[in-house]
C-alpha cells in the first residue's frame, strides 16, 4: 500500500524500532498465511496444487512488504 508517512516521524528512534521489529516476523508470517490460504483452498476445491501457489504468493507478499518497509525508511 503506497502511502505518505508524516515526515516528522522519520527521526523518531522508537518508531524506527517498531517498524524494523516487523522485519523478522513479516516474511515467515506472510509465507505461513499464503500456505494456509492455499491449503484451505485445496480442501475447499478438492485440488492438490493450490497450497504451492499460496506458498509462492505468500513468499512474494512477504518480500514485497519487507522491501516496502526498508524503502519507506531509507527513502525519506
Amino acid at each position: 500500500m503506497s502511502s505518505s508517512p508524516n515526515p516528522s516521524s522519520k527521526d523518531n528512534f522508537w518508531v524506527q524500532l517498531a517498524r524494523y521489529s516487523q522485519l523478522g516476523f513479516i516474511l515467515p508470517a506472510a509465507t505461513l498465511v499464503g500456505w494456509l490460504i492455499g491449503v484451505g483452498l485445496d480442501k475447499w476445491l478438492h485440488t492438490t496444487w493450490l497450497y504451492l501457489l499460496g506458498l509462492l504468493v505468500g513468499t512474494a507478499a512477504g518480500f514485497v512488504e519487507l522491501i516496502r518497509i526498508v524503502i519507506s525508511d531509507s527513502g525519506k
Partner: protein
C-alpha cells in the same frame, strides 16, 4: 480437568452451566464441560473489570485546580499517545486516540497482571488473547480506511499500475493478514518467553536472581505494549494516508 487459577475456579463454579449452554448454542463443544472458562478468559474479564473500576475512580477524581496523582498518570499516558499518533498519522489523528489508548491500557495491564502472585498474564496464557487484539486492530484500521476514503480505499490494494492489479490484490491481502499474525506472535512469544524465563530461574535460584528477571519482564511488558500500539498506529497511517 485443566489447572485453574482461583478466579477461574470461582467463575466456573458460578457460570459453568450457562457458558456450556451458550457454547453449545454456538455449536462449540467445550473440552471440559465442568470448566469451560479458561484462565485466559477469566483473567481477561478481571483486566476489563479492573480497567473499568480504575477509570470510574479517575473520572470521579477529575479536577482542573488540584489534579491528583492518578489524573497526572492518565493524562500523561493520553498525552503521550496523542503526541505519538499525531507525529505518525498527522493532525487528524485525535479521532484514533481513544482506540489506541484503550488498546494500550488493555495490553499493558494484561502483560503486567501476571507479576502478581495468584494471577496469570492473559497475553502469555493463550495466543488467542493477542490474536483478538490483532484482529480487532485489523478491522479497525480497515474500517477507518473506508471511512476516510470510501470505496476508493480498495484501490490501495490494487497497487500503482492497473495491469498489475490481479497480482497485487492477493499479495496485498496476504501481507495485511500477515500483519495480524506478526502482531500476535510478537506479543505472545515475548510475554510467554518472559514468563518462562522468570519461572525457570525462580525454580533454580529462588532468592534474589528472579527479581532481575521480574524487572526484565516489566520492561518487556512496556516495550511490547508500545510496539503493538505503535504498529497499529503505523497501519492506521497507511490506511488513512492521502495518496500523492
Amino acid at each position: 480437568m485443566p489447572e485453574q487459577l482461583w478466579i477461574t475456579e470461582i467463575l466456573n463454579r458460578a457460570l459453568a452451566r450457562p457458558v456450556d449452554v451458550l457454547l453449545r448454542a454456538l455449536h462449540v463443544a467445550p473440552h471440559y464441560p465442568q470448566a469451560p472458562i479458561s484462565n485466559a478468559v477469566a483473567m481477561q474479564l478481571l483486566v476489563f473489570l479492573l480497567l473499568v473500576v480504575v477509570f470510574a475512580i479517575v473520572r470521579s477524581l477529575l479536577s482542573v485546580d488540584r489534579p491528583g496523582a492518578l489524573q497526572h498518570i492518565f493524562e500523561g499516558v493520553h498525552g503521550f499517545i496523542t503526541h505519538q499518533s499525531e507525529e505518525i498519522i498527522g493532525h487528524h489523528s485525535s479521532a484514533y486516540t481513544p482506540y489506541l489508548a484503550a488498546l494500550g491500557y488493555y495490553i499493558l495491564v494484561s502483560n503486567l497482571i501476571g507479576l502478581i502472585p495468584g494471577f496469570e498474564s492473559p497475553t502469555a496464557a493463550s495466543p488467542s488473547v493477542p490474536l483478538g487484539c490483532a484482529i480487532l486492530s485489523f478491522f479497525y484500521y480497515h474500517a477507518q480506511g473506508f471511512k476516510h476514503s470510501g470505496v476508493k480505499y480498495l484501490a490501495h490494494f490494487a497497487g500503482p499500475m492497473p495491469v498489475l492489479a490481479p497480482l497485487m490484490v492477493p499479495i496485498e491481502m496476504i501481507s495485511h493478514l500477515a500483519r495480524v499474525l506478526s502482531l500476535t506472535i510478537r506479543l505472545y512469544a515475548n510475554m510467554f518467553a518472559g514468563d518462562m524465563v522468570t519461572l525457570v530461574f525462580f525454580s533454580l535460584v529462588p532468592v534474589g536472581i528472579p527479581i532481575l528477571f521480574l524487572g526484565l519482564h516489566i520492561g518487556v511488558s512496556f516495550l511490547q505494549t508500545y510496539i503493538f500500539v505503535l504498529l497499529v498506529t503505523v497501519y492506521l497511517q497507511g490506511a488513512v494516508a492521502t495518496e500523492h
